[in-house]
Symmetry: C2
Subunit: 396 residues, 2 copies
């Protein structure tokens, strides 16, 4: 159960040979009856967009999709017109095998940038993959992983006002949406709720904004980042509109699934030994709160000190100071866990033993109060470790 948790979806995974040694590298998610249903997406904001992002954007113009085909081991990015041809071909192969239109297939890729996608294994693999589809999403979730060490799945069930129960399920790979580590973050979500594509897009964008967008490992945004959602309407509920009580319930389910997936990604981030939540409060605007939290979270120096379990709040304060947020440095309060180490911008008396205990935990919260307003924001990140460098210093 995961991307197939909602009624009326099937999935599968296959080792077609993009990756060496028979590792899973191809996945399909589809409506059980192969009919196109309302669909929505959030794509990378990178100016350099991978071929599958361009093709999926094109195929989504009518707001409908019947299936998603995904490969790992190659990003099909920076591959020009040939790359777009290959991405379209992946949709055609999937459509031919499933019995739907190519324009109703979306496509995602993740892996190395700048290397032509090897089409021979893909051509042979997709028909074989299509013959393996079933109600479990686990193999599909495995097949989209790159440097991930564990599959990421989540689902949530909510009851709507008319008594109908709807489910949202999903799978993901990578380490963050706006700021993924190696290559890319991908997620596919499905629901059996009745909801049109415009409402679905609004809910998805909002859910992504308060989950994947609040995770940053290294500030790098990939060419392939994609979050997709398909809604097949099997639950038979009254159509869910945004801004209604049911809209809030369904959006909450999407948020729950996205947040669970994003925490799983942070926990599995390359080489991370600490899972860190940075909260900035007392900011003048929500945007300043987010910028401040992001600047602290993405600071190499802060990440290094977290790796060492070192409560060096001076670096946190210094990063707040370059974030663009407006505040009086001599009003700032900083705490690790519940131990306040800085008050009025200078060091605060605290219990060293208690602080040592906080810093030795795998999960650490850092709370910065700017005392300049009423807005706040939270960003999740990790420490910076030797293993992160080792993972990313060579592509081969």
């Amino acid at each position: 159960m995961s991307v197939t948790a909602a009624d009326g979806f099937e999935a599968g995974g296959f080792a077609c040979g993009i990756k060496p040694d028979g590792v899973l590298d191809l996945a399909l998610v589809t409506t059980t009856d192969r009919r196109p249903v309302p669909a929505a997406a959030v794509f990378t904001t990178n100016l350099v967009q991978a071929a599958p992002v361009q093709v999926s954007r094109d195929h989504l113009r009518d707001g409908l999709a019947a299936a998603v085909v995904l490969n790992s081991g190659n990003a099909n990015a920076a591959t020009g017109e040939n790359g777009r041809r290959d991405a379209r071909r992946m949709c055609e192969l999937s459509a031919a095998s499933l019995g739907c239109a190519a324009a109703d297939v979306l496509v995602c890729s993740t892996g190395l940038i700048g290397v032509p996608l090897p089409m021979e294994p893909v051509e042979a693999g997709i028909p074989k993959l299509a013959a393996t589809l079933g109600p479990s999403g686990d193999v599909a979730a495995d097949a989209i992983l790159t440097t991930d060490t564990v599959r990421k799945e989540a689902h949530e069930r909510v009851e709507l006002g008319d008594g109908a129960a709807v489910t949202v399920g999903g799978m993901a790979k990578g380490a963050a949406m706006l700021a993924p580590s190696m290559a890319t973050m991908l997620a596919v979500l499905t629901t059996d709720a009745v909801v049109d594509s415009h409402a679905l897009h609004e809910m998805l964008a909002s859910a992504v904004d308060s989950s994947f967008h609040e995770l940053s490992i290294d500030g790098c945004t990939s060419t392939n980042d994609t979050v997709l959602a398909l809604a097949n309407g099997r639950a038979g509920n009254a159509p869910v509109g945004p801004g209604t009580p049911d809209g809030s319930r369904l959006e909450g389910a999407f948020r729950h699934v996205c947040l669970s997936l994003s925490v799983q990604m942070a926990t599995d981030a390359e080489g991370a030994t600490k899972l860190v939540e940075i909260t900035v409060r007392g900011a003048r605007t929500r945007d300043e709160a987010r910028r401040a939290a992001r600047t602290v979270a993405e600071s190499q120096l802060v990440q290094c000190s977290l790796n060492g379990g070192d409560p060096y709040w001076g670096r946190v304060l210094s990063e707040l100071g370059v974030s663009g947020a407006r505040f009086d440095p001599e009003q700032v309060e900083i705490a690790y866990g519940d131990v306040t180490v800085c008050r009025d911008g200078v060091q605060a008396e605290h219990d060293a033993g208690q602080l040592g205990k906080v810093m030795s935990e795998r999960s650490i919260t850092v709370t910065c109060d700017l005392n300049a307003g009423a807005e706040q924001a939270t960003l999740r990140t990790t420490d910076l470790s030797h293993a992160y460098i080792d993972e990313n210093r060579r592509t081969s």
Copy 2:
């Protein structure tokens, strides 16, 4: 010779006990006759400004200074009103020992943020330091180092239109101006040229802009970053104005010294194994060229691949895409050294042996042509190594 390369300056260094084990931690640079002379500064843009930055800014309001006192081992930042009192006290102690006014002394500190400056060793140390001053700048240059492994000094001599020869000398510590590694970048420059403080500030700001500002190790801007310049007029030249031929010559000398110091800083950057020059050309505006070069230079993923000697241009292209520069991804050309690895946004045929040789060098140039305009910019950076993490994971 260095910060004392120009006629009429003295310097010295001393181990007063801020750092343990008798390591040098206190420095003075002064005019030989102790008289105030035109002076100028470029300070950190961080909203959180260390006490010495606040005090030096105040003391520079009349554009005159006779001496600079510096300490390493403690940044005297995030120390509130007590910190300002301590920074002012350093100026008073220096003035009393040298026989000048406290308001004519500038002050710099570098080291840990958020720890009160230990004033006992400073009170005892400054008079002793003042008694050791002499024509060599080497001990002063040693005394301002923190995690640096070698002292950084440079000087340049130019002939002006009236035949007078003027000298610019300087010393520095740290790893960058706008983006220093551990704690802070400090530089003190001196010249014997006749130049007023306004012209001096204009030349200094311009020289800093095309040297220290073009170096970024980790994108972190400290609370203490400071570049100071003093001009004692001993050369007896006709006053140098900005925008004149002599102005260009003197500014060129400042730039030469700043550039030399910034390259020395990059070479000595914490744990760096590669010295990397990122050039972005063909940008629509100079600002876009700089943002693009900075985004590539500060990318953890790019820095990791450089650490591995891996010519992974896909990451470089991806970072260009999030920089905010406007260009057509399918027009981009990327080269490592003189080996073009990406043309028209896709991989280019190249000689693997030649590329391997380029990547194995300690100095690597990466050139990105956006083919979108005529502007260009260069940023210097380093790779990201295990040693960088080790240096920064614990403050004690």
